[in-house]
């Protein structure tokens, strides 16, 4: 019975994550720890597996629709993957209470970021590394044309991706908010290209620590299977949802829910 409830919660997490542009990890780790009282280390490991699944599934359609920039993804994965390996090594050394605290803080940060404006920040100049590696790209505008874009601040992007990788392995999340923020604000990629490329990279980032967690025995099929299947089904339903959902209202409600969960995670960390 509990596993069915877990499957249902994961389905909701995947659905909400998909329509709100959040990763399922941000929802499923607090759900597992606060509602089901699962140890945070198992919760983080299960969440990473669901991230690999959702990212790979989403990446398939983003690639097909030509939104993701493969060249940028390959370059930035250098940062995220090395960061994830560092994160796994750090996670082994720190206490579970600290993980709760860190997750709580990150959850609050994500809630605040959900309220930010989503203006485009495109650049007129191309960074020399972008010139050399031919990173600039284009994506369909939906009207039969294409929107070309340049890429700026590549070294900063690479460094920020290292931090995103560390956080991903530590907290079992995709760090999509960090990745999109870096690509959108610093590297000046259009929002659609940032989101798609970030989603594409998340699977590789999560794999860098998920593989180690699997061999160490932290990924338990009893938790990971319903979570992963539920989140993937939920995100698929979210992506194909024909119902007109008032996302602005939902976003505001979700900011409150995330803030409460953040407060509870911090409280649990302090106790």
């Amino acid at each position: 019975m509990y596993e069915f409830i877990l499957l249902f919660c994961s389905l909701i997490a995947g659905f909400l994550g998909s329509i709100l542009g959040l990763g399922g990890g941000l929802i499923i780790v607090p759900t597992l720890t606060l509602l089901f009282h699962v140890n945070i280390r198992y919760a983080i490991a299960a969440s990473l597996i669901s991230i690999v699944g959702t990212s790979s599934g989403a990446a398939a359609s983003y690639l097909k629709d030509h939104f993701a920039n493969l060249r940028i993804a390959v370059l930035l994965e250098l940062g995220t993957v090395t960061g994830a390996v560092s994160g796994f090594l750090i996670a082994k050394k720190i206490q579970a209470s600290f993980l709760f605290l860190l997750f709580g803080v990150f959850l609050f940060f994500s809630a605040v970021m959900m309220l930010r404006s989503r203006d485009e920040h495109t650049s007129t100049k191309n960074h020399p590394w972008s010139e050399k590696l031919n990173l600039a790209g284009s994506f369909p505008d939906g009207k039969g044309g294409v929107l070309p874009y340049n890429v700026d601040n590549v070294p900063f992007g690479l460094t920020a991706m290292y931090a995103a990788g560390v956080i991903s392995a530590l907290l079992g999340i995709g760090s999509g908010i960090f990745k999109v923020l870096t690509m959108d604000r610093a590297m000046k990629l259009p929002m659609k290209a940032s989101s798609a490329t970030s989603n594409f990279m998340i699977g590789v980032t999560a794999t860098a620590s998920a593989g180690a967690f699997l061999l160490r025995g932290d990924i338990r099929p009893e938790i990971a299977a319903p979570v992963s299947v539920g989140i993937i089904l939920g995100s698929w339903m979210g992506a194909h949802s024909m119902i007109k959902i008032p996302t602005q209202i939902l976003r505001k409600i979700f900011v409150i829910v995330l803030s409460i969960a953040s407060f509870q995670m911090i409280l649990k960390g302090l106790s």
Binding site: Y2, G53, V204, A208, G211, A212, A225, S228
Partner: protein, 135 residues
């Protein structure tokens, strides 16, 4: 902006003419089918070991280190096929991004884009190395 205003090679719709587009479509298919198979294996395994009588999540309230090797050995001994199926799904799912990175590396190497090929192979090696950290 209209496609006519852009250089011809910026956005070629035919995958046969654009090798990068061709690779993107192949990766897209690999990911799509790979995720579907992995999730099907996990779902099948999960249904097989489903237990109505108790709360299976109770035993995960406290963290206990038990390696994958040990879990697999006990699952084999107990003929716990559902668990083994779910593990097969997990392994397949994790191997997808690694395969994707390898395919990208080979593509960039063929295109003589040495920097991106090196970056892909470096990521590939790190991913393989990361597995050893869990042993």
């Amino acid at each position: 902006m209209n496609t006519q205003d852009l250089p011809e090679d910026l956005f070629i719709k035919d995958p046969l003419k654009d090798p990068l587009l061709n690779l993107e479509l192949r990766i897209s298919k690999l990911l799509h089918w790979g995720v579907s198979c992995a999730e099907a294996l996990m779902l099948l395994g999960w249904i097989t070991f489903f237990d109505f009588s108790e709360n299976p999540l109770l035993k995960f309230q406290d963290y206990k280190e038990e390696s994958l090797q040990k879990s697999l050995q006990s699952a084999l001994q107990d003929h716990h096929w559902g668990l083994l199926l779910a593990y097969a799904g997990l392994v397949l799912l994790i191997s997808l991004p690694i395969l994707r990175v390898l395919m990208t590396g080979i593509f960039f190497a063929k295109q003589r884009n040495q920097i991106l090929a090196l970056a892909s192979f470096f990521v590939f090696v790190i991913l393989l190395f990361s597995f050893t950290l869990g042993i």
